[in-house]
């Protein structure tokens, strides 16, 4: 299977602080990667480095087989049109309406060459997907936190990207809204077979993506059986601590880990927050 995103001994420093320390990882087509870690462990920086928004001080990032360190900003922008990202706080433009926000990547990614008359139908479709079709004319400030996050998902998926990055999509949300957001992420992954990287501090989010699949016929999430079905979801867990990968493996390996830091992220769901 082709590699979509690869980090090769990537180090990122801010002044004298090492925020990513020799990170090596490989994300293959169709795979789901759950990046767990405490606040300040480097999850957001990892996603921004993957997107080419931050250039590594050492090491290389390969995106769709291309070494991003050799690319100019214009070429990086071309590559970014094949990716979608949901920022931690949504990253919506507060001076634009929801329709303009979701249409933004379609109108600005030159390589997409989206005809003007196709923009509105695609925006409506993306907003219908997150069940916010009625908010076209509203501004982000008129929506709740959970709704803004859903608009962020609509904006990330409107270009139908091959790789989707989610930065703490459930942070600061109540459990019901968090579940709705995670269900949308799983739905997007399973309907389009999108390669997904999700950074979170909540084990429940990773558990949901590793154990549930969206059934298009019943239009609901269904638990998958251990073994074959679960293998197909290709979910891998990574735990970051102080900018380093301290764990990489399957859900079973994560739950079996005896490392005090790693085990904090793999408590049985009844014990977790």
């Amino acid at each position: 299977m082709a590699s979509v995103l690869a980090f090769d001994k990537v180090t990122v420093r801010f002044d004298d602080n090492v925020v990513l320390d020799r990170i090596t990882l490989d994300l293959e087509e169709g795979e789901t990667c759950i990046i767990l870690g405490a606040a300040g462990s480097g999850k957001t920086i990892l996603l921004k480095t993957a997107l080419g928004l931050i250039q590594p001080d050492e090491g290389r990032v390969w995106l769709f087989g291309q070494d991003t360190s050799t690319l100019e900003e214009d070429d990086l922008r071309e590559l970014r049109s094949r990716m979608g990202i949901l920022f931690q706080e949504g990253g919506l433009f507060d001076s634009l309406t929801i329709e303009e926000n979701v249409a933004y990547p379609l109108l600005n990614h030159k390589s997409l060459r989206c005809p003007r008359d196709e923009v509105l139908p695609r925006v409506s479709e993306a907003l219908q997907f997150v069940e916010l079709g009625h908010t076209l004319a509203k501004y982000p400030s008129e929506l709740s936190g959970g709704m803004r996050r859903r608009v962020g998902i609509a904006r990330a998926i409107v270009t139908q990207p091959e790789l989707l990055l989610y930065d703490s999509p459930t942070a600061g949300l109540d459990p019901i809204t968090a579940n709705t957001i995670m269900a949308l992420i799983a739905k997007e992954r399973d309907l389009r077979n999108t390669t997904t990287a999700l950074a979170t501090h909540r084990y429940q989010d990773g558990h949901l993506l590793a154990n549930y699949r969206y059934n298009a016929k019943t239009e609901r999430l269904e638990a998958v059986s251990a073994g074959g079905d679960r293998e197909k979801l290709q979910t891998r867990f990574i735990v970051l601590g102080d900018g380093r990968i301290v764990f990489e493996g399957s859900q079973e390996q994560l739950e079996a880990s005896t490392d005090p830091y790693v085990s904090k992220f793999a408590k049985p769901l009844s014990q977790s927050e």
């Binding site: 970014r80 049109s81 990253g91 990547p105 030159k110």
Partner: protein, 253 residues
């Protein structure tokens, strides 16, 4: 010692990098024409009442303060000359630039700073836009167009303010003498100086405002800090540059 100068040098380097990119973008597509007009409206039309009021009273104050001295030398008929030269060469461009720096450099720094801390700048890059092309270049072009125009309006209203005080309030001279001496006092180099200065100040104000905005770190507190820095630094540069530009014109003449 090295650590002390590292920060300012790094700051200067990022400022010049931003300046270079903003200037190159003037000749590169895409051009965000709508954004240029929106900024022209905010900077130009939005600042107009402030500039008109300040310009008028600046001319009036100059006339008021100069009246006694001119009377002592029996030169009260030359009040138009004094007001015209002072306003067009120096006070008009500098005061207008300082007001626009206070109003717009702060606005740019806080707007871009807020966008930076809420990840809107990152989102812009991720969604296929160069933030310098979309945010900085339109503000730079709009300020460079509007500041000279605002200065001309401020100069004219300053002359009107001077005329009101000189003829109606103090009866120093007649209206005809006031306007003819004011007109004759100015030569092309004065007008050139009065237009080149705001053009240069415009780049400083817009680029300093945008630079501090895009460089914002540390949440809402950082936005406040960036706003203050943008106003202070752009105002100081306006004062410093007016000396050097004035000196250049003096040497040239």
């Amino acid at each position: 010692m090295l650590d002390l100068i590292k920060g300012p040098i790094l700051n200067l380097q990022t400022f010049f990098q931003l300046t270079g990119r903003a200037l190159i973008n003037v000749f590169r597509s895409p051009h965000y024409i709508d954004d240029i007009f929106i900024q022209m409206d905010i900077i130009g039309f939005g600042s107009l009442p402030l500039i008109m009021l300040t310009g008028f009273f600046t001319g009036a104050v100059i006339t008021l303060q100069m009246s006694r001295t001119l009377n002592q030398y029996g030169a009260s008929g030359q009040v138009g000359t004094v007001v015209a030269i002072t306003l067009v060469r120096e006070l008009g461009p500098v005061l207008t630039a300082l007001l626009v720096a206070g109003r717009n450099a702060s606005g740019m720094a806080s707007e871009l700073g807020s966008m930076k801390v809420t990840e809107q700048i990152d989102a812009m890059r991720a969604l296929g836009t160069d933030p310098v092309q979309k945010l900085v270049t339109p503000r730079m072009i709009a300020t460079a167009t509007m500041l000279p125009a605002l200065t001309v309006i401020s100069d004219f209203l300053g002359l009107v303010g001077g005329w009101v005080v000189a003829t109606i309030m103090l009866s120093l001279t007649t209206g005809q003498t006031y306007w003819s001496t004011a007109y004759q006092a100015l030569d092309y180099s004065d007008v050139a100086q009065g237009l080149i200065k705001p053009f240069i100040f415009a780049f400083v104000i817009a680029l300093v405002g945008c630079h501090y905005g895009l460089d914002t770190t540390g949440g809402t507190q950082g936005v406040g800090r960036a706003t203050t820095q943008a106003v202070v630094v752009s105002s100081v540069w306006v004062i410093v540059l007016t000396f050097f530009i004035g000196n250049c014109f003096l040497s040239f003449n």
